[in-house]
Amino acid sequence: MSEIVLSDVCKHYGEVVAVQSTSLRIGEGELVTFLGPSGCGKTTTLRMIGGFVDVTAGRILVGGTDVTRLPPAKRNMGFVFQNYALFPHMTVAENVAFGLEMRKIGKAEIADRVKTALSRVRLAHLADRLPKQLSGGQQQRVALARALVIEPTVLLLDEPLSNLDAKLRQEMKTEIRLLQKSLALTTIFVTHDQDEALSVSDRLVVMSAGKVEQIGTPRDVFERPASAFVADFMGFTNLVPVKVEGHGRGQLRNGMAIAIDKESPIRGEGLLALRAEHMSLSSKPVSSDVNTTEATIEALTYRGSFVDYLVRLDDETRLQVRGEAQSPFAPGQRTFVAWQPDAGTLVAAGQA
């Protein structure tokens, strides 16, 4: 059993609260991503779990054992650092062997396990190289092999892909996920990249300013953001002020009545989160079961396969709408903006 439980964990630096009281359960074999902008507390939380940062209050349990006060050396966790942190004076094989030597394992067995670990990341042929002779992606894989060879209870990855170029990032992302699944290893992955987070995780923990904003599956978070912050972070380009009247009815500031989510508990002032690509423009009003409001084209940006329009409603609200590349609108023109009622998500009014 190696589920991770955080119970009311927080971190204060003097007056500054780096991580507010956080409780979280990460299931056995699950890959959970801590996602958020820099300074949101995601790395601090990971480092508390790894034992590099003391917790101010609260408890951390791994597989039912309280590790809150254990030094990192006693936690048996695999940690992969953002800059890989390979030992520069040791060869690839020596780097990977280090953790096993610390466990006083016999030479022959170490050699065996290092070999297995390196072939798992397809680096067996580079065993005698020094880290500086390797490319970034190869260094990353050594770091991964070194963390995994000790058969850790959990794997902790701190922005493991941020120093790689786009193509390699794609490869490593897949590789990490496959490896994690085949080992059924409880894993925490820290990143600021929503695309990375969506494609690699079982669940996301979205954080902002030391606070957990939302916990959910990638689909939950991407389609049903729980706050204005999450909506903005997950690429909802438009947060439109709306007065919620209940029973699935709402009103825009320009007076336009629209249909909104019936289930939402939000009443009164709210924000309707809409993606640019889920809205469309037309020169005539569309059928009445679609939300439609009149607007003026203010600017457009040609993006190759599509065009991004900036449109203004009569109450000065601005919206970004994505149109087809050959759509015929020009700045100054009157137009109708339309979207399906279920394309919008209501979030509480608050700062994005």
Binding site: F52, A73, F79, F81, A85, P88, H89, F98, G99, M102
Partner: protein
């Protein structure tokens, strides 16, 4: 044409500066082989006599041995003290850290003659208070040379420790290493070039010191630098050039050996 004129000027200027640095060394080596009775130009012929003469004079021989001995002690003891001090200065934040750093580096900026006089007075006062003689003893001399060497060690080792990526220590810890193992298996090997460089600089700084030794060497003993100065007071022949050449050779060999085992240019 015009575009390359500044480039040509810089090249000439750079060569001139290099020449200015190398010339005195080259001249002293050259002069050490002149057969002229007193230091003069041009050479009347060439000889190796000055080297045998220098070796035959006990003050140079004994001076050389004492200087080597002192420098070796200064170099090793400044490592023994400087490395833990540098670790503390770089690892921990504590009140007065900057002050401690500056105190440790201060012997570098206090003129040698002032430091030497101060140490001498301190030793005498110490003797008056405790009746333990320090001034004029070998331990007294060694202690003073430790002060000459220590700032070099602190400077170089601290710089190297600051440059070291702290996450490699954390990586070692997460792999199960305790603090002592981390130090010996991860930190030490990574700062090895800086350790070797600082040992070398400490050695040289002590070896070439004249002012502190002058006050503290004690009767019946002499360092090489003191021997050179006293010889120059009464003689002006190429013996001095021969002694200087041997010194240059010793330091050059040390540099070469060091550079073989530690890339010195990577120590800074």
């Amino acid at each position: 044409m015009n575009a390359t004129a500044p480039a040509t000027f810089y090249r000439v200027f750079a060569l001139a500066v290099l020449g200015f640095i190398v010339m005195p060394l080259a001249v002293i080596v050259w002069v050490s082989f002149f057969s002229n009775k007193i230091l003069s130009f041009p050479p009347a012929g060439y000889t190796l006599d000055w080297y045998t003469r220098a070796w035959e004079r006990p003050e140079f021989r004994e001076g050389l041995f004492l200087s080597l001995q002192t420098a070796l002690f200064a170099s090793l003891s400044s490592l023994a003290i400087g490395v833990p001090a540098s670790l503390a200065l770089t690892r921990y934040k504590f009140a007065g850290r900057d002050i401690v750093t500056n105190i440790l580096l201060s012997p570098m900026v206090v003129p040698g003659i002032v430091g030497g006089a101060a140490m001498y007075i301190f030793y005498i006062e110490f003797e008056v208070a405790t009746e333990v003689q320090v001034a004029g003893t070998l331990p007294g001399l060694f202690a003073a040379h430790l002060l000459v060497a220590l700032p070099w060690t602190i400077r170089l080792v601290t710089a190297s420790l600051i440059g070291i990526d702290h996450s490699i220590s954390e990586a070692a810890a997460s792999l199960g290493a305790g603090p002592v193992t981390i130090f010996f298996r991860v930190v030490l090997p990574v700062i090895k070039p800086a350790l070797i460089a600082s040992a070398l600089f400490a050695f040289v700084a002590s070896f070439i010191d004249l002012e502190k030794s002058l006050f503290l060497v004690g009767p019946g003993r002499t360092t090489l630098q003191i021997a050179i100065v006293s010889y120059l007071e009464w003689n002006l022949d190429s013996t001095i050039a021969a002694v200087a050449t041997v010194q240059i050779a010793i330091i050059a060999v040390l540099l070469l050996i060091t550079n073989r085992y530690a890339q010195l240019n990577r120590a800074f």
